[in-house]
Each structure stands twice: as C-alpha cells, then as structure tokens.
C-alpha cells in the first residue's frame, strides 16, 4: 500500500446529496416510487458524485455516502439487535436517529460490500470505504440490553469484523473506521483499542481510523498502539491549535490531515490550504501525509463542497511539485 503518490488527496466520506436525490428520497419514504427506481437514482447520484470528486482532483474516493442517511442509524438498521425510537441532537440544529440496543447484536445485512462493488465498476480511482467503528456505534446508541458498554462494544466489533472480511474478500484495499467517540471516554481507550483488534482481525487491507472533534490530548500517544495503518484527524476546525499535541511523541502511523474546515461555508484559498498542509510536516514527514477535509462534506452545498475539494487538491498538487522540486 505504499506505492501511492506523495500527499494523496482523499475524502473522509460523505458528500452533499444532489437536491433531486433528496426529493426522490422524500417521495420514496412516502411510498410514491418503487425500490427499483430508487436504487437507480442512488446509482446515478453516486456516478455524479464520483465524477465531481474526480473533477476536483481527488485521488482516493468514496461514493459520497449517497445511500446512507448518516453514520450511525444506517448501520444500526442493518444489524440485528438495534431499534430506533427517534432523533436526538448532536449540535445546534443537527440531529440523528439514535439507535437503542434492545437485543443481542448479530450480523444480518451487508453494510458496504455492494456499495463497494458498484463503485469499483464505475471508477479507476483507488477507493476508501468508511465504516463506523463499534466503539462509536455503541457510544452513540442507548444500551438497554448488555450489562456493560464493554460487552456491547465487543459484540458489535465481531459484527463489523465480519463485514470488513467480506469487503477485503471483495477486493477492498483501504477501509476507514470512523471512531469519533473514542476521545469521549479516555478511560475506556483500552476497550476502544481492543475493539479495533477485533474489527481488523484477519482483514487484509490498509486500515485508517478517523477521529473528529474531541480532545486529542486525551488519546495521544495511546492511539499509536491501535492496530491501524493511518490515523485521520481534523485540524482546521480548531485552527490547527491541536498540532502541538502530537509533537511530544514520534507519530508512528500515516497521518490523515484534515486541512479544510467543513463547518464553514467559507472557501479556503489554495494558498491558505497550502499553508495548512505544510503544518502537517511538523508532525510527520510528507511521505506519511494524506490530505483530506476535516470530516464529511455533507452539511455543505455541493457547490461549496466541490470548490473546497478542488482547492485542496490543487494545494496538494502544488506542494507535491515543490517537494519534488
């Protein structure tokens, strides 16, 4: 996996859904259109979003999560043992349907294999598959069934591991475990670490872990012990203040470097993003840096998301040239 170009550009996962797709989803939910038409609509949306990412210059891409409503309930609805009562707030006016564990957790439906296979057919680019980690899925769910959180996390880790093995068998080479909940309970970092051991067991692929928000000082350097190849973090949202946290210990993994803020509509200029990317080199050498936005782009308009990605890729390209220089 180390034959990638210098400073590969990638996305964290989500991309804004086209307005026409949102409308179709609403109609589908009202029962006004068939499964078949909806499936085709999703396929078309993925094609459009893949094209956008390609035009923006992204090297390693994903399908923009067109088929996922969000990163928790989408998986919970496909795993035995979850139910969903309603939405709760994440911040401001952003809510998500928070699942509740009401029974033993078991593998039921595939989570991303067919999405991966479809994407493989329509792009030559390298593909990264984001899947929410068991620690975060449990932390962001209510637990009415298991005696302890730990038990719930490990049970779910087994389920996710099955999916990762299926993905690798299908040819997936790069899987990202989204685990933003890990810094929430630094005292449980062993549980999180064990969960990643289980999730990645016998999975032959490059594994990244994405952690956004939270206080990184509480999980560093412990996070270096996790069984992953890359750690992907946000830096732009808090104006790169967190960089200092990573200087005390040698950063021994690849670094996914969030260099574009997804929580503001402002489009960072190429020059600004170049300055941002260079900040990563104070943590690891350029050969270990992946360039991406802080987080998924779904809360932005497509236009803003595209411009941010385009400038980010241009910035990476220019630095790449300078480094070669």
């Amino acid at each position: 996996m180390n034959n990638r170009k210098l400073l590969p550009t990638t996305v964290v996962g989500s991309y804004p859904k086209p307005n026409w797709l949102r409308r179709l989803i609403r109609e589908y939910e009202k029962g006004e259109i068939s499964n078949k038409i909806m499936r085709r609509a999703y396929d078309d949306a993925v094609k459009a979003v893949v094209k956008e990412q390609e035009l923006a210059g992204v090297d390693i891409l994903w399908d923009g999560e067109m088929r996922r409503d969000e990163m928790i309930s989408y998986f919970a609805r496909r795993i035995e043992g979850f139910t969903i009562y309603g939405e709760v707030r994440v911040w401001g006016n952003n809510y998500y349907p928070k699942p509740a564990i009401i029974d033993e957790l078991r593998y039921r439906d595939e989570l991303a294999v067919s999405d991966y296979k479809f994407l493989r057919r329509i792009t030559d680019h390298e593909i990264k598959i984001p899947i929410t980690g068991p620690y975060t899925l449990v932390d962001w769910s209510f637990n009415e069934y298991y005696r302890t959180r730990e038990e719930a996390v490990y049970a779910l880790a087994e389920v996710i591991n099955q999916e990762l093995r299926r993905l690798a068998d299908a040819g997936a080479s790069y899987i990202q475990i989204d685990d933003p909940a890990i810094p929430t309970h630094p005292e449980e970092i062993e549980v999180a670490k064990n969960s990643i051991e289980i999730v990645t067991r016998e999975v032959d692929a490059y594994i990244g872990i994405h952690i956004c928000y939270g206080d990184y000082s509480k999980i560093y350097p412990e996070i270096l012990e996790f069984n992953v190849d890359q750690i992907d973090l946000e830096f732009a949202n808090r104006n790169f203040k967190d960089i200092g946290i990573f200087k005390d210990y040698e950063f021994t993994k690849d670094l996914g470097f969030g260099c574009v803020d997804v929580h503001t509509r402002r489009i960072e200029s190429v020059e600004e993003i170049k300055d941002n990317i260079r900040k990563a080199f104070s943590i690891v050498k350029p050969e270990r840096v992946y360039v991406d936005p802080d987080c998924g782009l779904k809360l932005l308009s497509s236009e803003v998301a595209f411009k941010k990605l385009r400038n980010m890729c241009q910035a990476a390209r220019e630095i790449r040239e300078e480094l070669k220089g």
Binding site: Y85, G86, E87, V88, R89, V90, W91, G92, N93, N94, Y95, K98, A100, D139, W140, F142, N143, E144, A181, P183, T184, H185, Y213, G214, D215, N237, R238, N239, H263, T264, R265, L299
Partner: protein, 319 residues
C-alpha cells in the same frame, strides 16, 4: 409539612415539528441567523409544558427549546463573546461552540427574558435556567486572564438578568453548574461570592444544580453558598452523594436527580421509589425536589415523557 416535588432539570427534546422548523429558519451551520416566529415558539413551549404536566411534574421549565447548548445561547447575547469551533460537551455525544472572551463582558439586552415571558404566560411554576461558573470555565478567555474576574463579571450580568426575570414574574432561578464538580478549592471561594452577586436584590428561590458526576469536590464549601436548593446527581454519583447527604448537616433543600436522563432504558419504579425514600430520610424529611439527573435533550421526544412518568409515578406512590 414535608413534600416531594417532581421537577425537571432544564432541557426537553424539541417537538419533532419544531425541530424541523428551526432547521429551516436557522440552517445547520455555525453561521445560522435567527428570526423565530413567536406564535410558533409559544406553541412548541406549550407542548413541552403539557408533556411535563401530563406526566405529573409540579415545577416546570420551558424546555430550553431555543438553546443549542448551555453556553452559546447565553454567550451570543452577551457583548464581549465571540463563538469559536465545536467541542464535546462533557462525556456526551453532544457538542457546543466554544465561547471566546474577546472584550469586557456586558449585558446590553436581555438574554432569556423573552422566552421566560412566553412560558410564564402558560405556566407560573416555572424555573429559569442560567449559568455562571460553567460558562466561565468552558470559555476561552482572551481578555481577563483572571478567572475570578471573568466569573464575577458573568455574575453581574446574571444578576441583571435575574432581576429582569423577577420583574416579569419569575420565582425560581436555577443556576446550572456541571463544571463546578471539577472546580478547585479557590474556585469555590470565587463562586460563593459570585452567588452573592447573582442574588443581590433578587427575590426568588435559587437552585444551584450539578450533574454528570458526584459532588464530592464541592463539599462542604457549597453548603455556605447562598442558595436555597442544591441539585445533586443520584444516578452518576449515587453512592458518594448519598454519603455526603448523611455526613453533612444540610440546611438547604435538595433537588435529587434520581432517574437517568441519558438513557432510554426505563428504571424499575420500585428501585426509584427506594432511592427517593432513602434520600428523603437522609434530608430529614425536608422538602425534596426529585428530577431526572440531567436535562432530557439527550432522549428522543417520545422517551422524555416516558422517563418523567417513571419519575412521577414513583413519587406518587410514596406520598
């Protein structure tokens, strides 16, 4: 005569239709502006008050339906604050925008008085939530460089707000201070003075409420605070808080958080009843407020009233 009064902490989940409404008028991003139609807001507040009343609650809140978090709702209306990036609110899957202190803090307009008026027109037994120490602690101070000065200036602002609330009918003011449970001893001295400032000239019953963990760090100093009711979390901090109650002679009333506001798992009524009885005995039969340990915004809308019913039914059986 001793009484057990079921109450709520502060937040209540927004009714789903109101949540959608706010999403439309405010948007999803940091920049969201706000023009809320008062009649629409009043309808939503009416609903959450009715939910509380139907469950058996006797002392209400307006559900803090416009608050995005404990801090920004206050900070955006106080001159001197700017809002910064998002960060996790304690150990919750809930984020707040970090307020940044850029200049001397001043209150140039009322903060929650308009909301209070709407709620008060529906129900008079209404607690209003403010905070002081927690706002200071979770803010980034780029101006004062002295925490006690920052706390005291916020206290002055909250005092002005409390006065205006009382002029509009408020009888109960709750100061939410989850951060106080992480306070250093010298912070306790500052906060004691701050409470004096907040109360000055304000004729209302004051609640100082803590949650998310036990209150060991603030005892016994908090007993000298000039408040009428101390709120303790008997879900997260049950054993330790129970010890504190038995160890110290409380000359204040207690608001006990006895059901878990952060899980959809419903408590066994018998166990809640036992817990309330034990606490009631430990406070020598004084008036006892019982509530969920936290605000209810952590729950889906349909589960909030279910949780309150568990609480109120447990109380009903005791009295």
């Amino acid at each position: 005569m001793s009484r057990i009064i079921p109450t709520v902490l502060g937040s209540y989940p927004r009714p789903p239709w109101f949540r959608e409404y706010l999403r439309k008028v405010e948007g999803l991003q940091k920049e969201g502006g706000r023009v809320i139609d008062e009649a629409t807001y009043a309808k939503a507040v009416g609903e959450v008050i009715r939910e509380q009343r139907d469950a058996g609650i006797k002392l209400f809140t307006d559900g803090q339906l416009l608050w995005h978090d404990l801090l920004c709702h206050l900070a955006t209306k106080i001159d001197g604050f700017e809002m910064n990036g998002l960060i996790r609110y304690f150990d919750n899957n809930l984020y707040y925008r970090i307020p940044r202190v850029k200049a001397k803090l001043e209150r140039r307009r009322s903060i929650v008085v308009d909301e209070f008026r709407v709620a008060y027109s529906i129900e008079h037994e209404m607690k209003t939530v403010l905070t002081c120490f927690t706002l200071a602690s979770l803010s980034e101070d780029e101006f004062y460089h002295d925490k006690s000065e920052l706390v005291m200036d916020i206290a002055h602002i909250m005092n002005q707000e409390a006065k205006e609330l009382v002029r509009n009918g408020a009888k109960y003011i709750q100061i939410d201070e989850p951060s106080l449970l992480y306070a250093e001893k010298e912070d306790m001295n500052v906060m004691k003075d701050a409470i004096e400032v907040i109360r000055r000239g304000v004729d209302a019953k004051f609640f100082l409420v803590t949650y998310f963990r036990d209150a060991e760090r603030i005892f016994p100093e908090v007993l000298d605070f000039n408040v009428d009711v101390i709120g303790l979390d008997f879900v997260e901090g049950y054993e330790k808080n129970f010890e504190l109650l038995r160890e110290y002679d409380m000359d204040k009333e207690v608001q006990a958080g006895v059901v878990d506001g952060r899980t959809t798992k419903m408590e066994d009524k018998e166990q809640v009843k036992q817990k309330i009885r034990a606490i009631h005995d430990a406070v020598n039969g004084e008036t006892l407020y019982v509530s969920p340990n936290t605000g209810l915004e952590f729950l889906p809308y349909i589960k909030a009233s279910e949780k309150l019913k568990v609480l109120c039914n447990s109380v009903g059986d005791i009295q």
